[in-house]
């Protein structure tokens, strides 16, 4: 109880230490990079997706995206909650959730169009069984209704529904994080543990459960928010420790070695049976502890070698990624759409590695151009040429939650 009292004291006197300063460009940079990686990973059989981090360790771009989303949500709405109160900030958070919902349904429409096209043009006796996947087109009433309820989610359309649920539950969590941060984080961890032990998840249509279990993934989102609201500063000592760095690097090397055995069958025999028994399966749905730890290790190493004031963050070469990270919702949706489009083109033209590479690069260029265009719109609408002018709306302050 005494510890909680102190925590409350610090937060109230310093007025959100982390959020008070300038926006941390590293967040935008890494979220932008994560968006590119998600785009590349969503194109099946893409040779370029060999460069993405999921091939070199346990966690992937989803962890980065969710953590940074939690961080920025707390950064933006935490300030709003302090300055304008619970009701106004909650209303903003819910408006954001609504925008994401609309974006999700828009993507669903595009996906349906693609499926319907394939259903009407593709036929091959070899795939008579697999074509049953299109059965849902026979009852569009049920399918569309289930999609509106976020229960029917086609492949690769799982992240936004997760984000929506996380934001819907965020107002009370943020309220708690601002007052009793340690307690809030412990509560989040408890929900994670309970979800694992009691098999909590949301139901999906036609069967099964959500691919990204919100009860598990909320831990990463809340942890991001906790870091934004002073947690990162409290962890500073840990982050500076050489031992922690060494452990993080050792774990990254271990994860890399294990992933090698996935790509090269012949190496699998070097993994001891007790280790594979204990380790597998590494569960993405429920955010396996190994994945969470891998993300933490990556974050520790990154924070160490890319300091906040690093001059490279201002260099022109990183601006495209930062720009994309600052408009993450739009660019995420565009990325999902571009991945659909790219895989469609590859399928229609039986494209090889060269075409896949070209489409990957083109897709990222389109994402950058779109981010630049959005920035231009925002600047034109009177919010100052860059983030220099104090924006009225925190959501649109060059970066969003």
């Amino acid at each position: 109880m005494a510890a909680m009292g102190t925590t409350m004291g610090t937060t109230t006197t310093s007025q959100l230490p982390a959020a008070a300063g300038e926006r941390d460009l590293r967040l935008d940079l890494f979220r932008g990079l994560a968006l590119w990686l998600i785009f590349l990973d969503h194109i099946p059989e893409n040779v370029v997706s060999w460069i993405t981090i999921r091939n070199y360790g346990f966690s992937d771009a989803t962890e980065i995206f969710i953590f940074i989303s939690g961080y920025t949500a707390a950064f933006v709405y935490g300030r709003a909650m302090r300055e304008r109160g619970f009701v106004v900030s909650s209303a903003r958070i819910l408006r954001r959730a609504w925008q994401i919902y609309v974006a999700h349904i828009f993507l669903f429409t595009i996906f349906m169009a693609e499926i319907a096209y394939v259903a009407s043009t593709f036929e091959n006796p070899l795939y008579a069984e697999e074509m049953n996947i299109l059965d849902f087109l026979k009852q569009p009433d049920v399918t569309i209704f289930q999609a509106l309820l976020l229960k029917f989610k086609p492949v690769n359309m799982d992240v936004l529904p997760l984000y929506i649920v996380l934001l819907l539950l965020f107002p009370p969590m943020l309220y708690l994080l601002l007052r009793l941060p340690t307690f809030a984080l412990a509560g989040s961890a408890l929900v994670y543990v309970l979800a694992w032990n009691l098999d909590w998840n949301l139901p999906a249509y036609p069967n099964g459960v959500w691919f990204f279990n919100p009860f598990a993934w909320q831990l990463l989102f809340v942890f991001g928010a906790w870091c934004a609201l002073g947690g990162a500063r409290r962890l500073a000592g840990v982050l500076r420790s050489r031992l922690v760095l060494a452990l993080a690097i050792a774990y990254l090397v271990f994860a890399f070695a294990i992933t090698l055995t996935w790509h090269f069958e012949s190496l699998a025999r070097f993994v001891p049976v007790w280790l594979s028994d204990w380790m597998y399966p590494i569960d993405k749905t429920n955010l396996d502890v190994l994945r969470f730890a891998h993300f933490l290790a990556l974050a520790i190493v990154t924070v160490r070698f890319v300091p906040r004031e690093w001059s490279g963050l201002r260099s022109r070469i990183l601006q495209p990624a930062i720009l994309c990270g600052q408009h993450s919702l739009e660019i995420f949706c565009l990325g999902v759409f571009l991945a659909f489009a790219a895989q469609f083109i590859i399928a229609e033209s039986s494209g090889g590695p060269l075409e896949q590479t070209a489409l990957s690069v083109l897709g990222i260029l389109i994402m950058i151009a779109a981010a630049a265009l959005i920035s231009w719109y925002k600047a034109m609408e009177g919010r100052g040429p860059t983030s220099r002018a104090k924006p009225r709306n925190a959501d649109l302050a060059g970066g969003e939650a």
Partner: protein, 265 residues
Amino acid sequence: MTLIVALLTAVALFDAAAAAEPPPQPAQSGAPIAAPAPDCVVPESLLEADSDLTHVADAVKDHHRLDISVIGSGSSALPGPDGARFAYPARLEQVLKGLLPDVQVKVTVHVALRQTTEQMAAGLAKVLTDDKPDLVVWQAGTVDALRGIEPDEFRAKLESGLETITAAGADAIVMNMQYSPRIESMLNVSAYADVMHWVAHERGAVLFDRLAIMHYWTDAGIFDLYAATKDYAMARRVHDCIGRALASQIVNAAHLDAGKLQTTR
């Protein structure tokens, strides 16, 4: 200074990443070719088996007979009036008879459309009593992926099924899904393929990696699996090639020297 360290780390990581990248086209590495069929070669690495098919080896060596039961769903069959004659189980029987002329080979087919792994596992006991097979080829996963069965549940059914097969004194080969580039974006089979990989590995069963093999055929330009067609010809050729590859994996994993068996006839 930190910047330099960061850059060095990045370069080192990138190098490691580049080194980790497997060659995209195994055919170019000069891998030996296992299947004798002229137009659907499969690199030997795709037909490697974790475990030996000891019951198959015993049956062939001691009794000169080999009874195989194939259990599966729609992708183990072909539509059309002579579908069964051209589907891979029948092709497997033909090819094995050719490879092992001294052995009485019998393949019994238990294929039912839209069967989940749970349903197939429930029917296993009867198949094992009726056929008394030396080897069960269990094709699974497709319907589970179509229905969105939870991977954990899928895993449990597959494990219990393999236990039943082992307890009945037979070897098992699990066959995963077909590779279908068109449907790939709508049907996520990788989670189920991963489960099959690990369950086979842990339970001492052999995995016939149909997904990887068909993928290889697409990459190597052997089959155009993107093609939209009503014609049965390509589907039949694919099944013929699957039958050949499967026969070749069985011969390898049971250490049957097909050539020697022929000469000592």
